[in-house]
Structure formats: structure tokens, C-alpha cells
Amino acid sequence: MTQEKLTMLQAINQTLDQVLETKEEVMLLGEDIGKNGGVFRATEGLFEKYGGDRVVDTPLAESGIIGSSIGLALNGKIPIVEIQFLAFIYPGFEQLVSHAARMRYRTRGQFSVPFVIRTPYGAGIRGPELHSESVESFFVQTPGLKVVAPSTPHDAKGLLISAIEDPDPVIFLEDTKLYRAFKEEVPQEMYRIPIGKANVVKEGEDLSIIAWGGMVREAMKAADKLEKSKGWKCEVIDLRSISPLDEETIIHSVKKTGRAMVVHEAHKTGGLGGEITAIINENALIYLKAPVKRVAGFDIPVPSFTLEDQYLPNALRIEQGINETITF
């Protein structure tokens, strides 16, 4: 297997290149994804290689992009849409929620919308207002959509290929702070990581930490630190997919550790921490030695960037949570 050290952005770029190469139905659509290669450069070089019919600079209109992509998908294309930042998906929210998510159901399987919406999300890169949202729970609450959020370059490639091959609409969330954060070996080949399966990135017996995207790294930092300082062994679960949720892995782990924590960037109230807590409560209550801890974004708008590090859950808050939970 040929391997190469790639950033998450490079891994995504390589994947898009490969699917454009191998699947003629694939089209990329979005704002500034052509000559400009996307504002983060995820589509760099692809316009030149595949031309303007396959790598399409669209007008500045997200409902237009998502709505016309629904039509493209109905008619045999596999659109991979880039929404420039997650908050800019809102103008296309109706197309996504009232159409893409429901097409298969309302037509009893006669029509479907196999497309992927890629979009950067999350805080941490000193972005302007509304460039740092984590509103994944909107999509998780919507039956018919799948939602994926990779935490490494390797996972990004494998999950993106699965998303593109998935017969249903997939929201593919790319944490901006991971884009160029680190490199990792990524096989040259096309490989798949299944949607709906979590990944236990660190085994442990004392506490299960559940996270996805950039929060996996924060969780690992805190876990490593407390392992060294206190000898506590945390199990860290990278969900990879947040819809569907891998209940089995979560429950299995919590039954083993008896303690759990969910870490997410989204606002605490109404965020997925509640859902995951409820799943644990329903399936492993009697194993719990302490309340499931939620370390999450505060219930305030993501503030201007001089304060974003305060907003973001970080290793300090996670450590405190671990401490509180283990010593409950």
C-alpha cells in the first residue's frame, strides 16, 4: 500500500480527485471551488483537471446550490456540494430538510437524493462572525440525513468515500481547526470507513469519553495528561458518524467503565450531549457510577474570535470534568 503523509485538507482533495477520476457521475458544486480551489483549497487543481462542467462555480445562493443538486441527484449525478461555512447552509435549509431528507420516504423508494454536502464547521481559527458554528444537531434531528465528522486525515478519506457511495444524503462536517493541524499516513488507494461505526481511539477502564471532529484531540490531550498524573485510564471514543449514532460501541464502553463524558463544541442545551446521555441512561443506567458529564460549548452565540478559545471546550475543562466524574 502506498502511503503518504497528508493533512486533512490534502486527504480530502486527493479523495475528490480520485472520485472525479473514477466516477463520471460525480460533480463538485459550490462557491469559489473552481479556479480558486475553494476558500480552504479543498478543491485545488480540480477545476483545471476536470473542467467547469464537473467542478462548478455556482452563483452565490445556497438554496440554489442544494436545490439544484437535488435535481442533479434525481437524474443520475452524484453532486458533492461545498457549502463555504456551516452557517451558510441556512438559506438551503428547507431544500435539505424538506426535500433531500424526505425524497426517498415520500416516494416509497422510487426517487432518492444520493449526494454529499461538505462543509467546514467549528471555531478555533480566528474566523469572522458566523464562521465558527457547530449546529450538527439540526441534521441529526432530521430523519433521512446522515451526518459524518472525521477527526483525522485518514478517517476523512475513508468516510468521504463512504459518504459519496452512500445512497442517501450525507452531511460531511470538516472541522476547520483540523484542516492543516497535522499530517498522517493516508493510503493512496480508495478505502472505506463505514458510516455509523465509532472508533475507539484509546482504550481504558475508568471513564468513556465520547467525542467527534476536533474535540477528539482535546479529549485525548486531557486523557493522556490524567493518565500520567493520576493513573486514570480513559477510553476515548471517536464517533466518526453522529447520525446514525453507534449506540452499541457507546453502551459497550460505558458498561465497562461505568462513567461517561460527552465533549462537543455545539451549545450544551439541545446539543448532542443530551442525546448521547439519554442513550446511555436508557441502556446502561445501572452501570453508572456517576452522572454522564457534558463538556460543551456554552449556551451563548460563538463570540468574536478574541474570546473563541474561552468558548471552546478545551483540555482544562475536560480534565475538570474527568476529575469530577471519577471522584463523584
Partner: protein
Amino acid sequence: MINSKEIESLHVESDELYQVLSIEGDSLINLPQNMDSHLMLEMYKKMVSCREFDEKAMKLQRQGRLGTYASFKGQEASQVGSSIALEFSDWMFPTYRDHAATHTHGQKWSTIFLYWMGHIDGSICPEGKKILPPSVPIATQLLHAVGTAWADKLKGEENVSIVYFGDGATSEGDFHEALNFSGVFQTPTVFFCQNNQFAISVPFEKQSASKTIKQRAHAYDMKGVRIDGNDIFAVYLTVKEAVDRARNGGGPTLIEAVTTRYGSHTTADDSKKYRNQEKIEKDWPTTQDPIPRLEKYLRKNHLLDKETEDEMKREIKKEIDEALSIAENYPKATTKQMFEHVYAVNTATIKKQEEEFLHLLGEER
């Protein structure tokens, strides 16, 4: 192909309605060759059939055999005339009021009954057809018709996508985005707006300061046409021209067919609250009803006799009665079916919810 020169000269640059068939049933132009008696009789038959369906549906609704129903009475010429201009494999994106169009394009009356009976199978179209379910969120379907048309263009396939929408729909952002996208990518899309002058209770004067919908086409450098939507010849010729142009790579067209919603918005609505319904009911039969208009033409030109007509009507009644019987005898949707088709392969969570619920219902029985 229609002699489009002649038609264009009549309607393109004016805000007046393009009319071909006068109220008295006379043709105002030399009809092109392809408008033969066969086609005209087909138009007539379809319109009569659609009217029969609509009146039946209204009756059934009153009897509680259908849920809320949206009547298309008065819009038969717009819907039949436009859809009859399509080819078998063209895409169609209707609203809840476009059953005359979907039926003409191949949707079964029995399925349309099922739709209004609230049955989950009411949105399926016959195998091989590309008729999407009625779009409920206003104006959203315009973009789908841009997408399907765009895909056909990219694939080099000669299909056209036609999308139906109302005057009210032109106020939504999606109307704008769809026309703009279609203009930019020159998709083979026909935007067919039935301006029935009301969006529920709101007259078009309150939807926009602009006097016509047609004039919006200019904002996208698109061809725009305004026609008498109660004149099935005008509708057919205009749509045929637009469809041919789209199929031949000439890009999209915005058509404004001015027509009348004869009744209330739906059976849950009462149009007497906001408009002079009496006057409409009084004037409409002689000035706007599209069916007698075509009938007059056919009679004047000896294309329809009493006998053929009676036979036709008997057939239609029978067809619709049969469709109703199919729908009313259709197997009830089951709880199990309710859980199907959320995803190609349902998630473990859905499966679990299904099992638990079926189990509970089992206990209950």
C-alpha cells in the same frame, strides 16, 4: 416544429396576453400542421376527464372520503395544454394543484385519489415516468427542475424538465435562485407559472408591485411569455415552442399563463371571505371556462359530434369510477410500512423503534 416566427411576433414583446383561441371558439391564427384534429380531440378529452375527476374529488371530500383537497377547476387548459406538449421521458415537477398536468403526463387517477386520502403510496408515479410528488413547500420544486434539466444537458440527453408553480410562488427566494441558476447554466427547463391571481386569499397585486410575472424573465435575460391560460391552443403552442427550444439547446423559458382558480384554495378554505366568489361563479362559465371554448371550436369545425362526446364522457366516468374503486379498495398502509424507506437500509435505531412498536401493538390486540 411550430412556425415560431409567427407566434413570437404575436406575444413576445408585449405585456398583453397571447391568445389563439377566442372566447367564441375561433382561431386567431393559422394553426400549425402539428395541431391536427387528433391532438385537439385529445386535448378536449383530457380536459373533460380532468374536470370530471376534480368534481368527483370535491364530492368525495364533502362526504369525508378524501382529506383536504385542492381543486384545479378552471386551470385545465393551462395544465393539459402544457403537459400534452411534453415527450414521454420529460421530467415534471407539480404542485398540489397540478393533477390535470400529472395525469396528462401519465399519473394514474387512482394514485391521485390515494394522495388525497392520505395514503403513503399516493406519491408514486408509474414505472419509467419522471413525475415527482406534488411539492408542498412553495417554489422549492423550481430548483429541482433546474437540476434534472442540467443533468440531462450534461449527459447529452434530450429531455426537458417542466415545473409548475403559482403566482404566489414567485415571491419566494427559490423562484429567483432557480431562474438565475437556469439562466447561468442554460438548462432545458420550462418554468410554467399558472397565475390564477390568488395565493390562497392574497391577490397578485399584493404579491408584488410588478404588474406581470413575465417581466421577471428579463432579470435573468431569459425569454418570458404571457399567455391566456384558459386558451388551450395558446398554452400548447407556447409550451411546445419552449420545450422544443429547450430540447434543442436554446435554454429556459418563463411562461406566465393567466388563468382563474374557480373555487376556494382548498376544501379547507372559503374564498367568500376574501373575494367576490359569486361574481366569479357567474362570469366564469361564459368568459373563462376553458372547456366550452375548445368545445365551440371543435363543433364549429365539425370535429366533435354529440355521439362521440357522449361516448367519451361515458368512458371517462367509467375510468374515474374505476380509479376510485381501486383507491378505496387499496390495502391500508401498515405500521410496518410506516417505517420503510427512511434510508436505503434503515438504521438500527429505526429498526429497534419499529420492533418495539409492533410488539406493543401485538400485545394490544
